[in-house]
């Protein structure tokens, strides 16, 4: 197992190196430079570019960046008054991660219950309700839901804060808006999978040996239904903790999602690089954890994975 993880880590490292290199060169196709102000004369712009070494040959710039990176230096932001990129990311990420993490928790709790209810009460009112919620959750975009929640719960009913990020109460609406998608997906997967598991022979056997309905469901059905959920859960986690620009804007939350778009718009080179790498690391790690998690839930996967 350790050997397997070590090998995966090496592959992950190579992947990141390729991503860094590719991003660095592709980024050069972005029009303009960090100093694209219509009021800036060509000479003044050239002076600024020289000051930051942007007039050096690309290969030199690349070598310099990778050199710094190997020492943990992600460079400084042009846009934010030469603030270190890593500091900005670490400042903003926890906010998005909190909202996303909470959305996952909401999504898991409601999604699993809803999906299980739909499967156990197959073809009843509860099943239809679960299906309805799932369809709505998938088809209503989070920004529509965010705006609706903000207006009705925040403005009209005055139950929760309209915007900003100052207490736990402020985080509920944005997390809810994000979680509906998660609820929908998880409920769908859970329902389908549980229906299938319920018809398996070992479930019939468990019933036959006299276990109560609850024991059968909890001990045999739920556990075996979780595997496909793990498959979608980890990409979902990465997707959610890296922030949603729309939700962050609607609720005026200073998260990381918005930062990425801003960096591209203002051609903030090192910020773009830093964020791309950071997101890549998260993604690669998530895939790794996911593979290990499979093994915990279903030993068969671990065995075949280890033999590769």
């Amino acid at each position: 197992m350790l050997k397997y993880i070590a090998r995966r880590l090496i592959i992950a490292f190579i992947t990141l190196f390729v991503i860094a290199t590719a991003t660095f060169f592709i980024m050069q196709f972005l029009p303009g430079t960090p100093f694209n102000d219509e009021k800036l004369s060509a000479e003044a712009k050239a002076r600024l570019e020289a000051k930051y070494g942007l007039d050096d040959p690309l290969v030199v710039q690349y070598a310099r960046y990778m050199g710094n990176l190997s020492q943990g230096d992600f460079g400084d932001s042009f846009y934010y008054n030469n603030r270190p990129v890593l500091g900005i990311i670490l400042d903003r990420l926890p906010v998005s991660a909190f909202l996303g993490g909470q959305a996952i928790v909401f999504g898991l709790i409601f999604g699993l219950v809803l999906g299980a209810a739909g499967a156990l009460k197959h073809n009843t009112f509860w099943d239809s309700l679960a299906t309805l919620v799932a369809v709505l959750g998938i088809s209503i975009p989070s920004f529509v839901l965010g705006a609706l929640l903000q207006y009705w719960v925040g403005v009209r009913l005055g139950l929760l804060p309209i915007a900003f990020f100052e207490s736990w109460a402020h985080s509920v609406l944005p997390s809810l808006a994000l979680s509906v998608f998660v609820i929908a997906i998880i409920a769908r997967f859970m329902r389908t999978e549980m229906l299938e598991v319920l018809s398996q022979d070992y479930v019939t056997l468990a019933k036959a040996k006299g276990l109560s309905q609850i024991e059968v469901v909890i001990r045999h059905v739920v556990r075996n239904s979780l595997i496909p959920i793990v498959t979608i859960l980890f990409p979902l986690i990465v997707y959610l903790v890296t922030g949603s620009i729309v939700i962050e804007q609607i609720f005026a939350v200073p998260g990381i999602g918005e930062q990425f778009i801003r960096a591209i718009v203002v051609t903030d080179y090192f910020m773009i690089m830093g964020l791309t790498l950071f997101f890549s690391v998260l993604f690669v790690l998530a895939l790794l954890v996911q593979d290990i998690a499979y093994g915990l839930i279903d030993p068969r996967i671990r065995v075949s994975g280890g033999e590769k």
């Binding site: 972005l30 029009p31 303009g32 100093f35 694209n36 102000d37 219509e38 009021k39 800036l40 004369s41 060509a42 000479e43 003044a44 002076r47 600024l48 000051k51 846009y79 934010y80 008054n81 030469n82 903003r92 926890p94 906010v95 909190f98 993490g101 928790v105 898991l108 709790i109 903000q150 207006y151 925040g154 403005v155 005055g158 804060p161 309209i162 915007a163 900003f164 990020f165 100052e166 207490s167 736990w168 402020h170 985080s171 001990r219 739920v222 979780l226 804007q249 609607i250 609720f251 005026a252 200073p254 918005e258 930062q259 801003r262 051609t267 093994g295 915990l296 839930i297 030993p299 671990r302």
Partner: protein
Amino acid sequence: MSRVKWTSIPPLLVAVVLMLAVAGCNIFQSEDGSQDGGGGGGEESETLNVNLQADIPDLNSTTTTDQNSFIILNNINEGLYRLDENLEPQPAMAEGVEISDDQLTYTFTLRDDATWSNGDPVTSQDFKYAWTRAMNPDTAGQYAFIIADYVEGGGEFSAGDVDADVLSIETPDDKTLEVTLVQPTPYFLGLTAFPTYFPLQQEFVEEQGDQFGLSPDALLYNGPYELTQLDSANRAVMEKRDDYWDADNVDIERVDGRVVKETDTALNLYQSGELDRTNLTAEQVDQFKDDPEFSTYTLFVTWWLQMNFEDPVMSNKKIRQAIQRGIDTEALAQQVLNDGSEAATGFVPKGMAGPGDQTFREFAGEAGPGFDPDEARRLYEEGVEELGGDIGALELVGSDTSTGKDVSTFIQGQLEENLGANVEIRTLPFDQSLEVLREGNFQFVTSGWGADYNDPSTFLDFYLSDSSFNDITFSSDRYDELVRGARTETDEQVRMEAFQEAESVLVDEEAAIALLYFDGDSILTKPYLKNSLTAPYGPDWYFQYWELEGK
């Protein structure tokens, strides 16, 4: 590895929730980490709540370029002069100035009660240090030109050719600052109110090093307010400085600047009383047009069409004249933009200073032929004939913002309907359109320009034949002569007449540009917020003049 029991999953979830909760305690950005924030409360009644609309990226006055940072700096620091409510420069850190007869040498005397927040007096050295730093190529930012273009020696120094000795900035004593200009500049006192001209205390700036400007503690204040909280993506809280020399005339005790980028959210916050003022989008304007809290104003920002003289079709004057007459700019401003913008009646925007008490537009009247579809079609057909009959489609370069797209589509429709032209739109992001313009690879393009100072030259310099902004290669000896002549002209009336004629050469005689609109804003303001003027250029909010009555 042993099997993990399924029963461990709910506890795991609980653990994750707990972790989130613990993390949560540290990431919520309430003030002092104690209360909920939000509206209401007796103690908050003195607080002005405004929406800054965008982040506050850089509070280093030497390098900063964005509107928000300028606004914050403008309220926490102060230059030699500041603008009053009529945009006239008034003594601020300086108690007065003596201007030499040739209008080249300015001798400022600093006021005795001008102090920094650390108790030190503001000295002439602080100004010399800040200005030199702003022009020094090693430390300079994008706004270096706003000092370097005026102060003698600034051009060479900022180009990096010579050292700072060439600059004509003298400090005979702590309270006297003597500066010599390249040419007479009637608006120079107004320029000293611009943040790049604000003083910096050398000792403090050097002590802070890389950290300067990054947090409230890493800034020194000499203006009406000081920062007590700063999160560049989220919030800036300012409190009134009792040591400010004019503190008696500052009404609002505390300003809470929030960053809300979504106008619908800002409107919700305004309606629930968490913001005292909010900007409206065109869609929202329809809903609030008749509300007593609704108002509009225009800025010193003109939008217009630039027509490229290098292009074979656009080099035909009749085609250009047809385009000038073929667009109903009144409809553009009222129906398409619907945000307080007004049809442009000249290249120099409405409200900009003219001779005496007049504005330039009052003095110069309207420029451009106005909307005349019949004449437009006639000119267009003649132009097409002169060009040999078939000119193909015209290509309009437009901006990729939602307003930009609306404007391009409107122009396309107007020219197709009124001229019978075939128009294609090429939508480009801002950075890319700058490149296309510099390469000269376009037919005509929508452009916007905002004033840096209150004088027509901030617009008319744009089309000097050697101007680096003159991407359409407009070239007129008469125009150059008039605009350059105005630089050394000391008689205000003569100077303004030269500008008037230059504008007329550009718009009427040569038909080089087609005017579109003066940019405006629509806002809602709570009735208890009085005197909340927005300056039409530069750092546009001066909270020291705003008042809260019975909030």
